[in-house]
């Protein structure tokens, strides 16, 4: 085949890949067609990679094959992690993606310098800055999610000023490089400063904001790939990067809305500080508690039960016991649904995956906006390991730090049961007035053990 014909064939394979990417996302609209979406995505990516190996520019194969094998060797274990570990795996893959984009940008710089045009230098500079800060930012996020790093926001006085100065330094270096692309030491300095900024961007953000941060980093990783497409004039990268960036952006907006926060608030506000002070002024108040036996009796008599799972359920590994409870109640003719708050897990959609893993059918998982109208007709709302997303203070206490955050209206159910270890405050450190309502029963204990006891009571009573 002539080189020109080969190049055309490669280009057509990239066009085919782009079509595949678009269909993959389109078919993700429902769980029924989603598997087909993944398959077409796999085929599209495979075709593009295979075609690239025939590119006449590629003269050295040996090490590329080795690198692909190592990549697969790293990727397979990362594809087999536990479902509770998916958020940190995702953060790590944002880091890998951003790192690849940044490294290619750096390689392009060293190959092209000092003959880069101002325009090329600006593209490379911007791409490398975004890729680098996303790389370190994602590593910090993964560390926080894996609980290697402290989850609490790490803050100090004048932090925003220092962080923004660091970002300004990176951009200044880039501007100098545009006029003097041959200053390679300045380029190295720019990369180091951008890496540092990534660390400073994510360390002050608390664990509760991780769903937003992980989405934002997703968006940055996508845009760094798109920018790389601009640098290399590769349309397939521009498209894939734009799709990924758009996805991360939409998820960030959804997460921000779900927490009633703005982007700037997540990035620049140290959320944790306000709340620790807010939690202090609360006095001891009486709560009603119940045993597993009593809880089982109430559940068995109910017609409609809504389970409200939070990340605490997954931490306690209680989802399989919850499935047994679901089966046992469904068998008795009780209508059981699961109310999913958008930030119930540690990343967008995480709670759905955790429940699906426990074999709970997806048509029983209902989003917040859809299910909130059903609470007044619900006999029992059973809260397992969720706290702030059920806090009525978000609706009616203007002094609460979470005031305005959309919540699940569990307090409107006829009976509310809350499984909780103790009266300690939740992740955000805010007291929850839900626990002191007359209709609320506190079920003190470990989520897995307590749900197991309820299931046992139900089966012995039948």
């Amino acid at each position: 085949m002539s080189p020109a014909a080969l190049q055309q064939l490669i280009d057509f394979s990239y066009i085919a890949a782009v079509i595949g990417f678009i269909l993959a996302l389109k078919w993700l609209s429902s769980p029924v067609s989603a598997m087909r979406g993944v398959l077409i995505g796999e085929i599209a990516s495979g075709v593009a990679v295979a075609a690239t190996l025939f590119d006449p520019q590629v003269v050295h194969y040996k090490w590329i094959i080795v690198a692909l094998i190592i990549g697969a060797g790293v990727g397979i274990p990362l594809g087999l992690v536990k479902m509770t570990a998916v958020p940190q795996r995702t953060a790590l893959s944002h880091a890998f993606g951003a790192m690849s984009a940044a490294l290619i940008g750096v390689a392009e710089y060293y190959v092209g310098t000092p003959h880069l045009s101002k325009f090329e230098m600006a593209e490379i500079g911007l791409e490398v800055i975004i890729g680098s800060l996303t790389f370190t930012g994602s590593i910090i996020a993964a560390g926080k999610l894996q609980e290697i790093l402290p989850q609490r926001p790490i803050t100090y006085k004048g932090q925003n000023f220092v962080s923004l100065s660091v970002l300004a330094t990176a951009i200044t270096l880039m501007l100098i490089l545009i006029f003097h692309p041959g200053y390679t030491h300045l380029f190295s300095a720019m990369v180091v400063v951008a890496l540092l900024f990534g660390v400073m961007l994510v360390t002050p953000i608390g664990g509760a904001d991780m769903p937003t941060v992980i989405s934002l980093l997703n968006s940055y990783a996508g845009f760094s790939a798109a920018l790389l497409g601009f640098v290399l004039d590769s349309k397939v990268l521009v498209v894939a990067g734009a799709l990924d960036g758009a996805s991360g952006f939409i998820l960030s907006v959804i997460m921000c809305k779900a927490m009633n926060r703005s982007f700037t608030n997540v990035l620049f506000g140290a959320f944790g500080q306000v709340q620790t002070t807010a939690a202090k002024g609360t006095e001891e108040r009486a709560v009603r508690s119940a045993t597993a036996e009593e809880a089982a009796a109430i559940l068995a008599a109910a017609n409609k039960v809504i389970v409200v799972p939070g990340y605490g359920m997954a931490v306690a590994q209680a989802q399989h016991k919850v499935r047994e409870l679901f089966d046992s109640l469904t068998k008795r003719g009780v209508d059981v649904k699961f109310a999913i708050h958008p930030v119930a897990g540690r990343m967008p959609g995480h709670m759905n995956v955790l429940l699906a893993e426990a074999d709970i059918p997806y048509d029983k998982m209902v989003e917040m906006d859809e299910i909130n109208g059903e609470f007044p007709q619900t006999d029992v709302a059973l809260v397992i390991g969720a706290n702030d997303v059920t806090n009525p203070a978000a609706r009616n206490d203007a002094s609460s730090p979470i005031y305005g955050m959309p919540i699940l209206d569990v307090d409107k159910a006829r009976t509310v049961m809350v499984i909780k270890r103790s009266m300690a405050t939740g992740f955000a450190g805010i007291d929850n007035p839900l626990y002191y309502l007359d209709r609320t029963l506190m079920l003190f204990g470990d989520a897995k053990g307590f749900v197991g006891n309820i299931v046992r009571e139900l089966s012995s009573g039948a």
């Binding site: 995702t90 497409g229 959609g349």
Partner: protein, 98 residues
């Protein structure tokens, strides 16, 4: 401004708007698989990494390219694998009974 920049910008704008429309329609049920799938698709950066490494221009660019091949290909393999695993778990009530 170079012509290839303008054409890339056209492609970017169209793809970004298409992306926004497509992603809005993705069921919130599947937001986690969405993120892992877009991650795997984004790993198409590997094609650029293969070319940078394969052109063998300088030692530095080859080594950087090879590291990028490892990182992005691991994203591709791992991203598709975990998306596939997650989607296999989603079953409806009907599918469960049959």
């Amino acid at each position: 401004m170079p012509a290839d920049f303008i054409s890339s910008l056209f492609v970017f704008i169209l793809a970004a708007f298409l992306g926004l429309e497509l992603i809005k329609r993705v069921s919130p049920l599947l937001h986690t698989p969405l993120m892992s799938l877009t991650n795997a698709l984004d790993a198409i950066v590997v094609v650029a990494a293969i070319i940078i490494a394969g052109r063998h221009e300088t030692k530095v660019s080859t080594i950087l390219g090879l590291i990028a091949v490892v990182a992005s290909f691991s994203n591709m393999v791992g991203g598709f694998l975990i998306t596939d695993r997650m989607l296999h778990m989603f079953k409806s009530t009907k599918a469960k009974k049959s």
